[in-house]
């Protein structure tokens, strides 16, 4: 009885965890991981440039448009 209840609880928790992980994967990564990676890389480089005293606010919007273009090109091909 206790074992079956524990098994059910574990299965439900695992399902919930998988659904949670899938939600965040879909939210952040979506159908093309390269765009999320490009955004993360652009923000990291922006921060590095900023700490080195270089004006870098222009980098993320530029990287976003370039990554979107590359993603659309890949889908088209």
């Amino acid at each position: 009885m206790t074992v079956s209840w524990l098994h059910r609880a574990a299965t439900l928790s695992l399902r919930g965890l998988v659904a949670f992980g899938k939600f965040w994967y879909g939210f952040i990564i979506g159908d093309d991981w390269t765009v999320a990676a490009a955004v993360a890389a652009a923000l990291a480089v922006t921060w590095l440039l900023h700490t080195a005293g270089v004006t870098a606010w222009w980098l993320p919007p530029l990287a976003a448009v370039a990554a979107t273009g590359a993603s659309l090109r890949r889908i088209r091909e």
């Binding site: 939600f23 939210f27 765009v35 955004v39 900023h50 606010w57 993320p60 448009v65």
Partner: protein, 247 residues
């Protein structure tokens, strides 16, 4: 006694943040449905109220920079997903689909909670609400007119929120493909702005940079749509091969 200078300053400063909050809620609600979006917005307000009650005047100690970076980065990547989808739909079908929910929006659940809409509205309301609260605390404490500052922020919320509710009908008349493109553009613009601000970098023109960012993403989207349409009109090498073999 109301301090007119504190009222006007707080009203305008809070209005800027509340406009951003309302744009996100109206845009997400129109595209993904109102129920989950409004529950998300209400959840954000509840958490905000709890934070205000728990922290009071020490709310200014909340690491708003980290919050901006996290919320901004998430909105940034999610906004770009919608921007890509919007570009592809407008390039393929033009500005169609007025009113009805697009059949290809298969990630929107037909029943139960739409957690994506909930999260977008929740984050927008929580972050912007927190910024409004910090404005109230800062302006109110600086001028020793906390009730006036709180009243001004509440008035801004009522006025901008009411305008958002009225704008809802007009927004719903925008074709869905164009709306997805527009909301993707706005989410990307807000996301870029907050993420970069979260890194401790100030934008030239402060909040006006959001408008410049939205214009930048609209121009980029127009260029991508034009490129996709031109390419769609050109026969691919496979088309040419099929045509030759048919002859």
């Amino acid at each position: 006694m109301i301090n007119p200078a504190v009222f006007a300053t707080t009203f305008l400063a809070a209005a800027v943040e509340i406009i951003e909050m309302v744009i996100i809620v109206v845009g997400v609600g129109t595209i993904r449905g109102w129920r989950s979006t409004l529950i998300g917005a209400a959840s954000g307000l509840v958490i905000l109220a709890a934070l205000i009650l728990a922290l009071g005047m020490t709310l200014t100690l909340v690491p708003i920079g980290v919050l901006r970076l996290v919320v901004g980065s998430l909105l940034f990547v999610f906004g770009l997903q919608w921007l890509r989808k919007g570009i592809r739909r407008v390039a393929a079908n033009g500005f169609r689909g007025m009113g009805e929910r697009n059949a290809t929006d298969d990630d929107i659940p037909t029943h139960g909670m739409d957690w994506t809409a909930w999260l977008l509205a929740f984050k927008g309301v929580l972050l912007e609400g927190l910024e409004v609260t910090i404005i109230v605390v800062t302006f109110g404490a600086a001028a020793r007119a906390f009730p006036t500052a709180a009243l001004a922020a509440a008035a801004a919320l009522v006025v901008i929120g009411g305008a958002g509710a009225l704008a809802r009908r007009a927004v719903e008349r925008i074709p869905r493909s164009a709306l997805q493109l527009l909301v993707g553009t706005l989410l990307s613009a807000f996301g870029t702005f907050w993420a970069v601000e979260g890194l401790g970098i100030a934008w030239p023109g402060a909040d006006l940079a959001i408008i410049a960012l939205a214009a930048w993403y609209i121009l980029a989207a127009a260029a991508h749509i034009g490129h996709l349409r031109r390419h769609a009109r050109q026969p691919t090498s496979q088309d040419k091969l099929a045509h030759a073999s048919a002859r």
